[in-house]
Symmetry: C2
Subunit: 350 residues, 2 copies
C-alpha cells in the first residue's frame, strides 16, 4: 500500500507510491502511444480493465461493448480502496496509509474522439458519470475530498491518449482546497456573500476577462492567472457542489467546455493541458468532528480550472510558489474570445 | 513594467510580465541551443550583456575577459529595478507594480563547464557571488525577499546552456516562504528550538534518509519529498541566513553540492533539475512595520532544495497541491549514497 506523508515545515501531504516504485533508469521519457492498437480503454477491450463501477449503456451487460461512458478502477492506483488510515507520528513526521479511490472515467468508446469536437450530449454524459461516482464515493466516511482531473497531452502528464479523466478520493482535505475554503469562509462571515459570486459579478461588469458566457456558466481568464491562457469555468448561480447539477445544467457546462477546448485547438494549436474540477470537500464528518466544514454550502462555489501547458515551471516558481505569466489575462481573454489570431498583442523584446 | 497581481481566493501573487508578451504561436517549443556559438554569457562576449554588477576577477577591468564568476542584470527581467510599488486595489483584486531585481550569475567563463565537475573553489566562488549580491540588494528597502535559483536542462525551464544561476529580489515575501517561517516560528515559540535543527538531528539519528554529510552540511532525502530523488542541503549549525557563511563554509557547501550533482549525473544520467536557495527574508523593515519578521534569527534555518525533473506535474497536483512521488525517499537516499545503481528497489506492477 502507498503511504501519505506530511512535510513538517510546509503543511503539505505527499503520496509515496513506492509500489509503483521505479529504478533510476525507469525515468527515461517514454513516447506516448497515440495509436488505438492495444489500448485498454477502447470499446471491445473491456476485459483489459478492472470491472466497471459505472457506465452509461444502451441496455448492454456490464463489461461488454455498447457504452457511451465507462468508469473503472485505475489498474495502478495511487491509493488503495481497502484498509484503515492508521494515522501516526514518527518524531516530527506525520504518516498515514494511502487509502482512497482512484478511478478512470473513459469518456468515449472511440479512441480518436476529441472532447472539443464530440456532441454536447457526449460531454454532458461525462459530467453525469463524475456526479454519479462522486455521490457513491462520498458515502465512504474515510474519504474527505474528491478531486476530478483530466490530463491532455504528454506534456500534461497523460500516458494514454484515449480520451479519459481520473477521479481520486482522498482521506484528507488538501491544503490548497483548505486555503480556498478558508478565504471563502472569512469573506462570507464578514459580508454574508460568496466571494466567488462577488468575483463573477465584478468580472462580468468589467467584461475584459470574460471569455464566454451562456445562461448557466461563465468562462473567465483569471485576474492573477499563473499560466498563459488558463481559464476558470464558474456556474453563474451560487452552488457549492457540482453534483447538484440538473441535466440541462450539465449540457450548458458541456457547451462552455466545448467552446473553450475548441478555442484552445484553434488559437493555441491543440496544446497539452490539465483540467481540474474543484468542488466542496465531502461533508460526511458530523458537527464536532475536526474535519467538519460547517457552513460550506454558503461559503464555497464550485468551479473548473484549465491550465494549458505552454511554459515550464522552473526554480523561481518551485522556490517561492510565485509564478511568472508572460501573457496578460486580458490579452489571453481577447485571443480566446476570437475565432482567429489576427489581432496580436503588444510584444516586448526577446 | 510588469505587474504583480494577487489571486483573491488563494493568497498567491503572480508576476504578469506582458512586456515579455507573446502571441499564441510563440509558445511552440524552441529547441535549447547547446553550442557556445553566439552565447552571450561566454568569456569574450561581455558586451552582449548589460554591464556587470559584480565579478571575481584577476585584476582585469570590468566587462572585459579574465573573470571566474560574473553577475549581470537579466536582459529581459521579470521585474524592473526602477519605480515604486504603487499598491492598489481594484474591487476584490490587489495590484502592484513589478519592481524588483533580476540578475544572472554566470558561474564559469567556459560554456561547457559542468558544476558537478569543476573544482570546489569554483563552486565556492558562486556562493561568494550569491552572498555579495544578496547583501547589496538588501540595502534597498523596497525589496522584501531574495530568491536564488538554478535551472539545469530544458525540462527545468533553462533556455541557455551556459552554466548560470539567477537571482530575483521581490517586493513581497512569497506565501510559500511565509508558510515556512510561520511553522518555524510556531515551533520555536513552543519549544525554544529551531524546527530545522530538530529535523536534522532526527534524520541523522535515523540515518535512513541521509545522503551525504561533511563537517558543515548534511544532504537529506526529505521524508515527504514531492519529487523522486529530490534533496535538501542544510547547514549543521543553526543559521538563518546564508550570507553569514565564512569562506571555509562556502567550500564545505561546494563539496556537498558537487557530491550530489555528481551523483545525479552518475545515478540518474544528468537529469534536468531545479535548485533553489531558501534563506530568510530581508530584515530591513523595522519593528512595527507589518512586514517586520522579528525573531527570524532564532526561527529560521536556511537551506537548498534540488528537484530533478523526472516526472510530469499533472492535474491531480495542480488541483490539490498534493504530489505523488513514485520513489520512497529512503530508496532514493540509498541510490544517491552509492556509486552505482546495482541494488534495485522493489518495483511494482506497471
Amino acid at each position: 500500500m502507498s503511504e501519505l506523508r506530511k512535510d513538517p515545515i510546509v503543511d503539505r501531504w505527499v503520496i509515496i507510491a513506492a509500489e509503483r516504485g521505479q529504478r533510476p533508469s525507469d525515468f527515461e521519457p517514454v513516447p506516448q502511444s497515440v495509436s488505438a492498437t492495444g489500448c485498454p480503454l477502447c470499446e471491445g477491450s473491456e476485459d483489459k480493465t478492472p470491472p466497471e463501477v459505472f457506465a452509461i449503456r444502451d441496455g448492454t451487460p456490464p463489461n461488454s461493448p455498447g457504452w457511451q461512458v465507462r468508469v473503472v478502477p485505475n489498474k495502478f492506483p495511487a491509493l488503495a480502496i481497502e484498509g484503515e488510515s492508521d494515522r501516526h507520528g514518527i518524531g516530527l513526521f506525520d504518516h498515514m496509509n494511502g487509502i482512497g479511490a482512484h478511478e478512470v472515467i473513459i469518456e468515449n468508446p472511440d479512441h480518436y474522439a476529441d472532447i472539443a469536437q464530440v456532441s454536447v450530449e457526449c460531454i454532458g454524459n461525462i459530467f453525469t458519470a463524475f456526479g454519479q461516482r462522486t455521490r457513491d464515493l462520498r458515502r465512504d466516511e474515510r474519504f474527505r475530498h474528491i478531486i476530478i482531473f483530466r490530463n491532455h497531452g504528454a506534456a500534461a502528464g497523460a500516458s494514454l491518449t484515449h480520451p479519459h479523466s481520473q477521479l481520486i478520493a482522498l482521506p484528507i482535505v488538501p491544503k490548497l482546497v483548505r486555503d480556498k475554503l478558508q478565504t471563502a469562509r472569512n469573506h462570507y462571515r464578514r459580508k454574508e456573500r460568496c466571494i466567488f459570486c462577488d468575483l463573477i459579478e465584478q468580472e462580468i461588469a468589467l467584461a475584459e476577462r470574460v471569455v464566454y458566457q451562456n445562461d448557466e456558466f461563465v468562462v473567465l481568464s483569471p485576474f492573477a492567472a499563473r499560466f498563459p491562457f488558463s481559464v476558470g469555468i464558474y456556474p453563474l448561480e451560487h452552488s457549492y457542489d457540482f453534483v447538484s447539477m440538473a441535466h440541462d445544467q450539465c449540457l450548458s457546462l458541456a457547451e462552455a467546455l466545448k467552446f473553450i477546448l475548441g478555442q484552445y485547438r484553434t488559437v493555441l494549436g491543440n496544446p497539452a493541458y490539465n483540467l481540474t474540477l474543484q468542488t466542496a470537500p465531502n461533508t460526511l464528518p458530523r458537527p464536532g468532528h475536526p474535519d467538519y466544514w460547517g457552513s460550506i454550502e454558503y461559503d464555497y462555489h464550485w468551479h473548473i480550472e484549465i491550465m494549458p501547458r505552454l511554459t515550464k515551471v522552473a526554480g523561481f516558481e518551485w522556490g517561492t510558489g510565485f509564478y511568472i505569466n508572460p501573457v496578460a489575462p486580458e490579452d489571453a481573454a481577447q485571443y480566446l474570445r476570437e475565432e482567429t489570431t489576427s489581432q496580436p498583442v503588444a510584444v516586448g523584446p526577446h
